[in-house]
Amino acid sequence: MSLLAVAALAKSFGERRLLSIDALSLSAGEHYVLTGENGSGKSTLLRLLAGIEAADSGVGRFGKRRFDWCPYPDWLRREVIYVHQQPYLFHTSVAENIAYGLRARGVEASQRERLVAAAIAWARLDHLLRTPPQKLSGGERQRVALARAWVLAPKVLLLDEPTANLDAESRQQTIDLLRAFCGQASTAVIACHDRDMIALANMRRLHLVDGQIHQNSGAAP
């Protein structure tokens, strides 16, 4: 069943129409790999879906709820989480970074601590708790960012090339975390290049060409 659907989604930069998507439907519990050439708009599409970038037009549906895509509804931000290709960590602490979204949702202190502890254990970050976030390696930052997203239990997870620029070991650790994350029934869209293709269960393929999406109903190769 379709969880998040969008129609007539358009985005231009100046005169250039980058995206013009007639219809895109993401099903509950399915995982999608989003591919396309460099500059084809993969990142922009994820950013539109997350509401970080404003669309020119579009209508959406989440579950049975219909809405206008611009302005992006605040309530949808609680369901959809976007993780940057190179995640930004706030200049606080690893634990505070993970707690950020929980604070924003008004989760009370005791429950927040419990959830943050669970996320730290999940992403195996215990040994990094005393390290300032700015001193973490790329792979460690990616794990903190995934823990920060995981703790919010989003319905839709949007990841922008999560394994790009990582060394082999960090890449494997990130993929292991993604498998665990996606196994928990959240819908995920992962932008990546073909060579970085991440094999997850129920993986479907979305391909961006000339600003339009080609949705393949079968499993990705």
Partner: protein
């Protein structure tokens, strides 16, 4: 009196706890701290709004504020004098030659510094910081607070800069304060007065205090910055 003798006399004055001298120091610190307490939230808030909002005339406003960075304090004092004098539109408030007038003047001098520097700090911030806060579901006010915390060291530099400018300014304090002993005589106006009278000891003693205050504030800033980067 030679420079060496004057400096000796100045140190004796400082160490003897000369009441007149320490009253002048008290006026300076009290006026400047009050001005900074008012100017900081307003200046940083305006800097944030300028960095965040897009509206017609924004560009011109930024250019104007950057221009005001170089405004001579004596001109600020002159404008304020005209507004507060008996014929001025705020003449009824009887604020001329009071500490309140000096506070207002110093707020006006500090604001362009705080606005321009906090705007620059926020514009220089990593764009992913705001996006991450938004993506994690933060409200507009939480996003704003997060951004200010992320650029806190640049903001502290802005505050130090503004503090240094107002604690040492003389033009505006002289114009709207009037250099009244025990009331509106602060360190810069006293130094100018004592030096013109030939009393270098008091001038040098006050100069030492001013330097210590300015260095103290900047050292504290450097210390906090160093602590965070260890």
């Amino acid at each position: 009196m030679g420079l060496l003798d004057a400096t000796h006399a100045a140190l004796r004055l400082l160490l003897s706890g000369d009441a007149q001298l320490w009253t002048i120091v008290g006026v300076s610190l009290s006026v400047t701290l009050r001005a900074m307490l008012i100017a900081m939230p307003v200046g940083i808030g305006c800097g944030y709004l300028l960095a965040t909002l897009r509206f017609p005339g924004r560009r011109a406003l930024i250019v104007l504020i950057q221009g005001l960075l170089a405004s001579p304090t004596v001109v600020v004092g002159l404008l304020l004098y005209l507004l507060l004098s008996r014929q001025g539109i705020f003449g009824q408030l009887h604020l001329l030659f009071t500490q309140t007038a000096m506070v207002i003047g110093q707020v006006l001098i500090a604001l362009p510094v705080l606005i321009a520097f906090s705007l620059a700090a926020l514009q220089g911030a990593d764009p992913r910081a705001r996006e991450t806060a938004v993506a994690l579901g933060a409200s507009a006010s939480r996003v704003g607070w997060t951004m200010l915390v992320e650029v806190r060291f640049a903001l502290m530099a802005a505050v130090c800069n503004a503090f240094g400018r107002v604690v040492s300014e003389i033009g505006c304090s002289l114009m709207v304060g009037g250099n009244i002993a025990g009331v509106t005589r602060n360190i810069p106006t006293a130094i100018a007065l004592e030096t013109s009278k030939g009393d270098f000891a008091q001038g040098i003693a006050l100069g030492i205090v001013l330097l210590v205050v300015a260095l103290g504030v900047n050292s504290a800033f450097a210390f906090f910055q160093g602590e965070s980067r260890r």
